[in-house]
Symmetry: C2
Subunit: 278 residues, 2 copies
Amino acid sequence: MYKPENANPQRFTSYVAPPQRDDAAQVELLQTLRAAEARGSATPCPPLVVRVNEGAAVHFEGARAESVHVVRSGAFKCVRVLEDGYEQVVSFAERGEVMGYDGLYRGEHVTTAIALEESTAYALPTRELDTLPVRWPELDRALRCAVSRELVDAGRTANMIAAVASETRLARFLVWYAERAAERGESPRRLRLRMGRREIASFLGMAHATVSRSFTLLADHGVLAVDNRDVEILDPVALIGCSRGTRRGVDERAQHPVALAMRPAAPALLRQWPLMAA
Amino acid sequence: MYKPENANPQRFTSYVAPPQRDDAAQVELLQTLRAAEARGSATPCPPLVVRVNEGAAVHFEGARAESVHVVRSGAFKCVRVLEDGYEQVVSFAERGEVMGYDGLYRGEHVTTAIALEESTAYALPTRELDTLPVRWPELDRALRCAVSRELVDAGRTANMIAAVASETRLARFLVWYAERAAERGESPRRLRLRMGRREIASFLGMAHATVSRSFTLLADHGVLAVDNRDVEILDPVALIGCSRGTRRGVDERAQHPVALAMRPAAPALLRQWPLMAA
DNA sequence: CGCGCGGTTGACAATGATCAAAAAAGGTGG
DNA sequence: CCACCTTTTTTGATCATTGTCAACCGCGCG
């Protein structure tokens, strides 16, 4: 999915506040990583908090992996710039998600983590990761869990990209995004996308024009109400149906993919989806 | 990428040897996880070793995540079965790679790990993961590193699937596969694919017919010698060129993608590729 | 020997990438 | 507040790529 139009890699001229030790952020960090029991016991290592504004990066592809980051507020995209300058979005991260853990393997970050808006992140020095379990067992456990979640998301990402139809890809993306919103306690129906069409396109492995088209297609069928980056899910059942991407039967050949997806999805799937509870 | 032809999920009738504690496997496990310094210090937790033959699974999607697995020998595929029965291959794992770590997040495995041939794996009980750092620091560190590697691979996977041209996808897959072979000390030029065309297709998000076509295409151009699952890389430079998937310029429109990829790749990229050393 | 399976190849329709341009949104300065 | 610029998004038109269907081949196995 190379698009030469995208050939100007972002220049990181934006302001990056120098990281500072922040005692008050201790409990926060643990809570952010959604460890249920965040005991405020004293730890010898108050976390670093980094503040960046839109377009700035907390770590760079190829740079020594000195820390792993946890999103505290805002949103990030993790990208790799390919040889021809195309910016491949590998993942999106919001509150509670880990970025840069993949840098531990070789000691170099393999992605650049760029803020999509004014954001903050915790920085966990990789040096201190070895001793973390003894110094702060709860955090260690929470971090493990968060990394596991990254792997889950990676699998889902593959699942999104691998889908045949472009509407299916977008539908899966939206379902995923809505679930994440629900997990953060936000509305799973009224979504505010933190990223542009081009970034969604790069993430899903398609042309940005096709992303746009898929949005309008779903909107035309009454599944979504799209207002730029504000997306409202009008018909969750249809969206899920579309995300399931069932192949058309031979006899249904003439019909439209989206129309076909309108038939109700499996009840089991629906029940476990937060959208349906709302 | 749904293919109804693939709608018969594997029946797991194959033999699975009951796991057994194996004292002798202690050092092995550490070495397998490629920790440089594997001290043979006594640990209170001799690893479990599981033996499976082709088609059998070490863990199932949806089952309680009681252990994380590390491949000791052989090869595995990690799959998710979608609602319509299509088997999506999420990852391939060979010696030293971690499977099922994504199960920690929810306590349930999200993939089924199926052996592609007669294989063995270590099972690390998730219960013991909390105390692992104190009981066996080296292993903990090695495991962290291996998990990090999984994340790196996940990013590369996305990179493979997201590529536009089918030959590019396959080329990236082969480059990745060759690098892994090299890391395991095997030849990076003579590859034995452990998986079938259909599994490659599912992994790369394309139709199996297209995978087959891409193989023959690369073979016709002298890049590969393909004999079923035995693939020899005849022209590494061309393969890398193809994997870089540079878009054709406007004037080169008439030429064939593979032919265009024949031009030499960036020296920096080549130097760091194990193929070129051989 | 026939059967089934995995792989290859052919033909065809259609999806989506690409090129291109218009329209909308956001930001800046008068 | 409006004109003006840039960026993002939408929409249009065209054509190659690839998914789909289907036939065929080679191989191992019962």
